[in-house]
């Protein structure tokens, strides 16, 4: 019997079924109208005559496992009914898409292999929404992606695109920790080459603080004092820490109008709008530039370094725990204020230093 006959008889009499086999070998039968909603299955049935019985079950692509198949069939079962309003369909879609990220990925892949374009669009958009606004580490975490780019490669474009202060801070903390680990290993091995690797990573960090490109030559140009390498390391650590401390100020600076205005904007941006993000991002760059220029005469001793390290840990812990509360505080403060540009002069940097001392 041909499929056409079946389609004619169907409404009154028997329901016809199509047999599907997933990659794991399990076979199931599905109502015809539901299964035919998928172009790939439709193609198999019409062009090749498959699926009419258990022995001739349609083999589904490997990316479709039974769980995904049942999800997809739910989707098809709902949408193949012609009489539904757009509003109904949309609300079904919104509820349908609520699942954890892993299943969403699998579903996207499965829908793509079955060429079910509406579902691919729906899931792709959902995945895009998940990815938006996240840092690379977060994306790797969510999707279990390997961390196989060199640090230079990772930091390269991020220098100039990170808008969320938390992301930037995390990047810096991350790099700092890595550097610490390497230094510890270095102390064991006394290898000169490792130091160079360290420098490069911190170079990248600081080049972005300076607003230069990622070239180490650029760094050398901007730094005036180049003593022995160790001192340079310490200087750079300090500069990085100073920059981190500056950030430290900002969530704490509720009594400082300009700071809080910036953070308020940032937080607001983090919630939804992205347009003023970049305004703020670049103002932060401004701050860093000035901060760094005032940095040149820095002398570091281990005690101060310890203090700085502790402050960083403190900040990280606080950021981790208090962020939601702080967000509320800051939002109520930093409402509709224009970010203030810090002028480039010695006073600016000194003032910054004074603040750090007060801490």
């Amino acid at each position: 019997m041909s499929e056409v006959d079946m389609a004619v008889i169907k409404p009154e009499m028997m329901k016809s079924y199509i047999w599907l086999q997933t990659a794991d070998g399990s076979i199931q039968q599905v109502e015809q109208e539901v299964a035919m909603f998928c172009p790939m299955i439709c193609h198999e049935v019409i062009q090749k005559g498959m699926g009419s019985s258990k022995n001739y079950a349609i083999s589904l692509p490997q990316r479709v496992n039974p769980a995904m198949l049942s999800l997809i069939l739910d989707y098809c079962r709902f949408h193949q009914v012609p009489g539904r309003s757009n509003k109904e369909r949309k609300s079904f879609d919104e509820k349908f898409i609520r699942m954890d990220t892993k299943r969403l990925c699998e579903l996207t892949s499965a829908a793509d292999s079955l060429q079910l374009k509406p579902l691919v669009d729906l899931t792709s958009r959902a995945l895009a929404r998940i990815i938006e606004g996240k840092s690379p580490e977060e994306i790797r975490e969510i999707f279990h992606l390997p961390d196989d780019l060199t640090e230079e490669e990772k930091l390269e474009p991020l220098k100039n695109t990170t808008d969320d202060p938390r992301i930037r801070l995390l990047n810096r903390l991350y790099a700092k920790k890595r550097k610490e680990l390497k230094e510890r290993q270095k102390l064991k091995n006394i290898e000169v080459e490792e130091e160079r690797v360290d420098d490069r990573s911190v170079d990248d960090l600081l080049s972005f603080i300076n607003g230069d490109n990622g070239d180490s030559k650029g760094i050398k140009n901007s730094k005036s004092k180049k003593k022995n390498r160790r001192r340079k390391d310490q200087q750079k650590t300090t500069s990085a820490n100073e920059a981190i401390k500056n950030h430290n100020k900002e969530p704490n600076g509720l009594n400082q109008v300009c700071h809080s205005a910036e953070v308020g904007q940032k937080v607001r941006a983090g919630v939804g709008a992205t347009s003023n993000l970049h305004d703020v991002e670049d103002n932060i760059f401004d701050n860093k530039n000035e901060l760094d220029d005032g940095d040149i005469d820095d002398e570091i001793d281990p005690a101060l370094k310890e203090k700085i390290d502790r402050e960083v840990e403190d900040f990280a812990r606080r950021l981790n725990s208090d962020w939601p509360e702080r967000m509320q505080e800051i939002l109520s403060f930093g409402h509709e204020r224009k970010p203030v540009h810090f002028s480039l002069n010695g006073n600016g940097s000194l003032r910054r230093y004074a603040n750090s001392e007060q801490r």
């Binding site: 990220t101 892949s109 895009a128 690379p136 790797r140 196989d148 474009p157 760059f285």
Partner: protein
């Protein structure tokens, strides 16, 4: 070295977990399912690119530094990018992205405040040879070096916007046209130094596929340039000569005779334009209607011929000439719905109406609003 880094990674990841902001809702480590895909990297590249195309530009850039698989996919697949959201670091961003995104075809670098420098454009022309659409508007800091670099590196350019780049010279622009012969859309609005008769002659010689040219406020443009343009670029459809005060009727007559596909013409502030120009436009249409009959048979009658004309402040024109023009080109409208014949500041032209405006006037007997 890499092994040590990986070990360091694990250690770092563990202590980094504590600092992480976002709980993704997944437990740590990679889970293996028995069947089906387990990792994102099993998703085909096209699907990943489709998802990336739904992201905004900034996120797409971030996504390219997630892992090597994503980086390769995005670097091979990304063809359009806009960096206009970047307020302060656009130059550095371009320098770091150009070597990666070598398949770019469209690149929008329009700036709010000028940031772009020559080294960024040189980097683009060194790596992005497929570039077809480039927007460098308002890049005040760019010098001729950029144009020379683009000439060498981006020969496939079809659309180029350098409006507001006041430092470019006409020599460099002429040099560019010698290499970028596929140019179809060129925006030189405000490029006073670059848009001279010399450059226009070069354009007329080299860029024969040109369809749209904006010479707004380029007051060095004269008849010689526009006539060379007309003789060279027969496919010209849109030409904006707003503020090109030296233009006279000869330019318009040349355009009327040579550029038979002209659909949009801007002559705002071209005070030297007289009725001669208007009649020549009308005449060329009538003269060529016979030869263009076959092509217009497919489309509507309105499809060819002037669709939009701006003769504001051309105070030398008289109503009879302009009315003749309006009658010849049915696509020119003075009615409020489809206003395309703009005559601001021409107080003696208030009696000029398009056909539908006249009908409306007759039928409804309302006071007709003059074009303003």
């Amino acid at each position: 070295m890499i092994g040590e880094a990986k070990v360091g990674n694990e250690d770092l990841n563990l202590c980094f977990e504590k600092l992480m902001m976002v709980a993704a809702g997944n437990s740590e480590g990679v889970k293996m399912n028995s069947v089906g895909i387990t990792e994102w990297k099993d998703i085909p590249v096209e699907l990943l690119l489709r998802i990336v195309s739904l992201l905004d530009d900034q996120t797409a850039i971030v996504a390219s530094s997630v892992c090597s698989g994503w980086r390769d996919a995005i670097c091979l697949g990304l063809t359009q990018l806009c960096l206009s959201w970047c307020r302060k670091n656009m130059n550095n961003l371009v320098l770091s992205l150009a070597p990666k995104f070598t398949r770019l075809q469209t690149l929008i670098l329009r700036q709010e405040n000028p940031q772009l420098e020559d080294n960024a454009v040189e980097s683009i022309s060194k790596f992005c040879h497929d570039l077809q659409d480039l927007d460098l508007s308002k890049s005040f800091k760019l010098s001729d070096r950029s144009l020379y670099a683009l000439a060498r590196g981006c020969p496939n350019l079809k659309k180029l916007n350098i409006s507001g780049c006041t430092s470019f010279s006409d020599e460099a622009l002429a040099y560019l046209t010698n290499f970028c012969r596929k140019l179809k859309i060129l925006n030189l609005c405000g490029c006073v130094k670059a848009a001279t008769d010399h450059a226009l002659q070069a354009i007329g010689r080299n860029c024969n596929m040109l369809q749209s040219l904006n010479l707004g406020w380029c007051d060095n443009v004269g008849d010689l340039g526009v006539m060379s343009l007309a003789y060279g670029c027969h496919d010209l459809r849109c030409l904006d000569l707003c503020g090109c005060v030296r233009i006279t009727d000869d330019s318009v007559i040349a355009l009327a005779n040579e550029c038979l596909h002209l659909r949009s013409l801007g002559l705002y502030y071209c005070r030297n334009i007289t009725d001669r120009a208007m009649y020549s436009l009308a005449h060329s249409r009538v003269k060529n209607k016979g030869s263009m009959w076959e092509s217009s048979m497919k489309g509507r009658y309105e499809d060819d011929g002037l669709k939009s004309l701006n003769i504001s402040q051309c105070t030398a024109l008289t109503p009879s000439a302009v009315q003749a023009l309006c009658d010849t080109f049915p696509a020119l409208h003075t009615c409020s719905g489809r206003h395309s014949l703009v005559m601001s500041g021409c107080l003696n032209l208030t009696s000029v109406h398009c056909a539908c405006a006249v009908q409306a006037h007759r039928t409804f007997n309302t006071i007709f609003h003059t074009a303003h």
